[in-house]
Symmetry: D2
Subunit: 450 residues, 4 copies
Amino acid sequence: MSDKLKDHCGVTAVYLKQKGDVPKSLFFSLFALQHRGQESAGITFIESGNMTSYKGKGLVDSVLSPYVNKFFDSSVGIGHVRYSTSGDGGLHNVQPLQINCNKGNIALAHNGNITNADFLRNELRKEGAIFQSNSDTEVILHLISHSKKQDFYSAFLESLSKLEGAFTLVVLHEDVIYALCDPYGFRPLYIGENSDKILIASETSSMSILKVDDYSAVKPGEVVKIDGSIVVREKYIENHPVRQCIFELIYFAKPSSEVFNYPVTSTRKKMGRLLAKEDSDDLGDIVIPVPDSGINAALGYAEEKGLPFDFGFSRSHYAGRSFITPENEDRELAVRMKLLPVKNIIENKRVVLVDDSIVRGNTINILVKILKECGAKEIHIRLSAPEIKWPCYFGIDTPNKEGLVSNSFLPKDLAKKVGADSIKFISIESLRECVSNPSDFCYHCFTGVL
Amino acid sequence: MSDKLKDHCGVTAVYLKQKGDVPKSLFFSLFALQHRGQESAGITFIESGNMTSYKGKGLVDSVLSPYVNKFFDSSVGIGHVRYSTSGDGGLHNVQPLQINCNKGNIALAHNGNITNADFLRNELRKEGAIFQSNSDTEVILHLISHSKKQDFYSAFLESLSKLEGAFTLVVLHEDVIYALCDPYGFRPLYIGENSDKILIASETSSMSILKVDDYSAVKPGEVVKIDGSIVVREKYIENHPVRQCIFELIYFAKPSSEVFNYPVTSTRKKMGRLLAKEDSDDLGDIVIPVPDSGINAALGYAEEKGLPFDFGFSRSHYAGRSFITPENEDRELAVRMKLLPVKNIIENKRVVLVDDSIVRGNTINILVKILKECGAKEIHIRLSAPEIKWPCYFGIDTPNKEGLVSNSFLPKDLAKKVGADSIKFISIESLRECVSNPSDFCYHCFTGVL
Amino acid sequence: MSDKLKDHCGVTAVYLKQKGDVPKSLFFSLFALQHRGQESAGITFIESGNMTSYKGKGLVDSVLSPYVNKFFDSSVGIGHVRYSTSGDGGLHNVQPLQINCNKGNIALAHNGNITNADFLRNELRKEGAIFQSNSDTEVILHLISHSKKQDFYSAFLESLSKLEGAFTLVVLHEDVIYALCDPYGFRPLYIGENSDKILIASETSSMSILKVDDYSAVKPGEVVKIDGSIVVREKYIENHPVRQCIFELIYFAKPSSEVFNYPVTSTRKKMGRLLAKEDSDDLGDIVIPVPDSGINAALGYAEEKGLPFDFGFSRSHYAGRSFITPENEDRELAVRMKLLPVKNIIENKRVVLVDDSIVRGNTINILVKILKECGAKEIHIRLSAPEIKWPCYFGIDTPNKEGLVSNSFLPKDLAKKVGADSIKFISIESLRECVSNPSDFCYHCFTGVL
Amino acid sequence: MSDKLKDHCGVTAVYLKQKGDVPKSLFFSLFALQHRGQESAGITFIESGNMTSYKGKGLVDSVLSPYVNKFFDSSVGIGHVRYSTSGDGGLHNVQPLQINCNKGNIALAHNGNITNADFLRNELRKEGAIFQSNSDTEVILHLISHSKKQDFYSAFLESLSKLEGAFTLVVLHEDVIYALCDPYGFRPLYIGENSDKILIASETSSMSILKVDDYSAVKPGEVVKIDGSIVVREKYIENHPVRQCIFELIYFAKPSSEVFNYPVTSTRKKMGRLLAKEDSDDLGDIVIPVPDSGINAALGYAEEKGLPFDFGFSRSHYAGRSFITPENEDRELAVRMKLLPVKNIIENKRVVLVDDSIVRGNTINILVKILKECGAKEIHIRLSAPEIKWPCYFGIDTPNKEGLVSNSFLPKDLAKKVGADSIKFISIESLRECVSNPSDFCYHCFTGVL
């Protein structure tokens, strides 16, 4: 999926049992979540009793490293990395959003999409609310402030009850942390603890980098309150259908992470295996992945088929696209800079090229072209996701139906269009087999069914 | 006044009779107001029907020049330069502040201080308002949004009626500009027009740089509405005492400007003349100013006394203080870098050193020290402002009473303390003589009387 | 080899058959060589008859992208990426070095190390040469200028005859390009041509990115002259022993490249195979590579042993070390940020960890520690390079003998020291088997024999 | 002279009697010389036995402030600010230039122009010298290195004897400082000493900022050697005609400085007086200067004529021209941003506008236009320099003869052309009267006579 479905965001929160460098812990946790959002980064924490935010556009390292090697008299904070889905990319949309209202000082960061945000914004406007951004985050804060409930937690729960959509939130209210997962459980969220700290993060790679070994998933509809070292977990809604995003397992999450209680790497490998199993053709001499998105599935595919696996593309670690301005976007050039072919691996081979998914179909054709230039005899494309035919209901930044290439081409026609000899997608059935609780996942982008 | 009273802000607004480069006009107007605020700069304008803001910390040139040489499909906009008085210097406090609410899209920039802001903020919080900054500007916007009046203008006037303090505002509501002066008329505001444009600005130097020759002062309590090329001016409050800030004439305004209908340069020269007239001593060989704050008064003093005038200090045009961090603030070094003495003008002379005022008294002693090093025989300090004994009621960033050196030392003791032979301040009476409507000005910082 | 042997540099040159964007071609070629030097980048080319250089510290993208989207009236140029081996990292050492002398305008960039540079520098100083840098490059230019030969080419050849060491050079003399490989052939250099251009580059990945399919290696002791579209290749020295750097195949070159006529990826995989073949132990459940340096060899090892291959470490694509200043270098933190473990792949496994080499031994111990934290039952380290015991004779930036850990510890003791269960290195014999002309390679760092 | 004759450069050197922060002393000295060159700044000093340079394009503050608050184990250094006259503005031309050669480590910075540089460069090229820049500085260093004299000082003197033109130099040879003034004495140079340090600088403002009270001018043809605390001064050439640049007194030097033993401010005032004396017309109501270049002469003119002096233009302290690119250079806009008129001072007045000189004549016409817009009744321009008719022989960056407006227009025609009522220039005779040794000055730009 080089023509990519944009991920939403990553969130984190930390409580240090001994006061110390909260910004440093948030920095490392966000660094491990960087793949979830590269547009902006930010943290809010309590320092000497005051709520303070540092945030900006850019990567975690450039935005936050100035604050890492300082000591702060501080024990709680929250953090966020953002890829914008709602709201534009303007500076006023960088999270966490910190405010003061009748419930006190609040900072909030969220990963997700409030599907009834426009309705809520309109209602709030009627009551006098002013909006400085167009992010969903501001809507939630207004709801809390406008709630008639006196105490923060009641107001917070009341506000949550009005939200529709998918979201995980981390909130700092004065010096108390709240973290929650929406009732669908659409996005992953974990809580962990070691001798030094309590940590909340979207994925367990944050736990790993901060040496937090003891962790568990926050459940759909569960809210966690961290007040000093006391952790209270409770469901704020019961008996709600669960719809975890299967694309976290297919593509979004980092291979080193666990999400929704599944190890990402192994699950992807299993997708590759099952994709191979249902693939009756035996047309390949070698299996090569599209790096990095297709690596794990390709390994599974190769093992299942008993075919050799190798890297036919070498990925550049140097971004190097600053000269490609939006006006002169040159997709082919960008692909050629990122993925250099390894000719002698490709030449005269029947290549099975494995990736996770095809969205718009405007990258795979370039890869096929490069493989042909290098002398591939045949090219068979295999995808560890089914055909994507529906825009994400919960707000992932997918194209509309017309933009999804699988709505316009059957696999065999798509193969022809991109210049390949065949294209096969994993079946929904095999995909469901990769998890033990398949009915708790959302397959809407493949099926149109919620 | 090198140990300086901080000015507040500068505001501007423009309507172009032919659509064109609103940001460019705002840039030049703000450039001419740069002396009123160097901390941040910003503009908001309507482009192709959308309200857009560009703002940032730093000087007008660095923040706004990226937008000057582009064409924008645009005819209205407002702008602001800021030196923070209320609110901290954080990015969320940079003006104009642009919001969306039940009254539509609004951008607001203001120069001044709302003295009942804390009270209003508290009332608004009770009604559910959330505050992202601690600037007064946000309070005004909440008042407008929370007003029960249906149309913007009624809500705006209602909101104004709740504000106490001193303020000039420029507001963009959709594509209509509003500009107003508080009932005290504490801060200057001008409106002008030429064949191309209608221009609002804190001082007439903006008119000069944009070749607007036909202008007049906005009156205390007057609101101006610019809707297309139609200008409506009306008083929104009548029969209110007027208290124009005399320090605009003494120090804040640019010498090339007119404020409150007075030309700044000549008024300052008159202060120097009257200061000389009431100064019975005849102790000087030469009159030298503290550049630039004392230049005009020094010229007046020298003319009245028939003494030669010359530059005993040469001012550096290169800021050059980036290495002086707040932690190692070295006031003497900073003064020595900015003001280089001209030895042969000072040597063996009885020097009359003229400046506008003394606030904390921590710069004048360094100047005396330098004059002595250069061989001055006697040093007589003369100030074109009376002794400052009261913090500004309307929010200029003065020290508290303990910090005002004139509360601790009589002039003759102050002279001894700073190493001078004598110090004299202009009298209130002479200062009042410099303007034709003295009772319309505020002298609270000298007298404690409002 | 995460504790890494620093590579030298990358060089390139281009002749466009139609005048056009020479800087753009150089940009792409250097981008494909970025892994050979990240400290600085530079280009020199002829524009409208004038020799012009753009260079600076940093990556190719940041230094050169300002020049990529402009048109230049230009057909020849050379380029360089640098990791400093001789000379410090100062700006005056950034290449190409452009000069004017009695032989005309010359620009020169080089990859390598002149072992008699100090002697030559001293001789040249006696003749009046002044040195603005301490790079070898400047020495070569002085030799050319001081040569009594009248024409450039004769002077150039004479100068070359005085150089000892290993070096590839690209030179621009007025509008003629020269490229050469030292007689040992220590560093790779390629020349290619397509319908648009003639291209010189250290590795063939540059050919790939610029779609130059027809290329060949420049031979040891061969000089190439490109004068307009006329290419002359000749040996400037005959019958010289050849010593190609085997470490280019083990580690330095990009996997997508061919160097010394060997495809890099396949050769590394073969090293892994032969390493497995001579490894009598059969102790692993899974083979995991140290990314990216151990990937190809690990694939070969796994295939030979019939063991599963998987990614036990997930590499971060976000550098993120800007806050680790030289003063607080924290190697463990840096490793943990770059390589995140995939717990469920490691847990309860007997892990065969494959990398290319061990130099100082101060990274492998951190990886072992992380594997143990993740529950690895046993850890067996396998290296596709033999034990490194001698500093590079030709100037790769290796530690001295004391710094090379294999001089202090036998493999079994080293295993104990780093916490592993076993460590095995490939034998020299197996390594020699990986190439068809083993006596043309240098193994000095392993054997001490030239 | 707003259409300005570019100054050359400023040089400085320091010896600290106690080891300490040499870069800090150089910083302050260069800051006081900033008006002599804003293109680049640099320092070279000995730190722990090593010669080190920090330099870059931009102002002293931005280039050097990173080095000011550190301690360096250091007692000697030299510094330079540059406005390029010979050599382009490229980074390789930023001074001091630091080299190593057979005479040891040398750093050199110079202010001036070697008129036979091309000849010398050619000779040196024949001997094998390579040139990395096109600055004169590099030529001098090559001469020293190529000298057959064994010791540095002899070689240095021999090299000097080959140079023609005007130049002041500061040189660091190992840890010894040399400073010298060319035999013409064209540029000023001072040496001073206090209890802490020995200081060399182009102007005495550097002495003032560093509190060095005891100083004297370095004589034409004199070389100063500072070896530890031992200062040796000797003439290296005798009986040579002296030609000090009168424009240093008219325009270049800072008003707070003494140059050529003359206090700048007073000398300029005297020029104004004598200009007034020979001006038989009595046509003015007020004298206003072009700030800052005309201020001192205007004061003298006003005093002599008994006319009031005032500031009719207020100068902006904020540069603000970053958006005026070379391609859209808008001279009028730039002037209007820098100099804002003070209308009520100008209106209905017969204005005497005083500046130092007219070169191209493309600024004075804009000032006249602005004065007329403000209602000036008459405008009489008076210049404290005679008509400039010859390009500078010694290398100041003047236009060629065609570019000098006084070669095309008699004063009365020039007045008509720029829209003024009259223009008068001081006579050569009066100018010579302003100094006590007029035959030691160069008036070539006025007379064509050397």
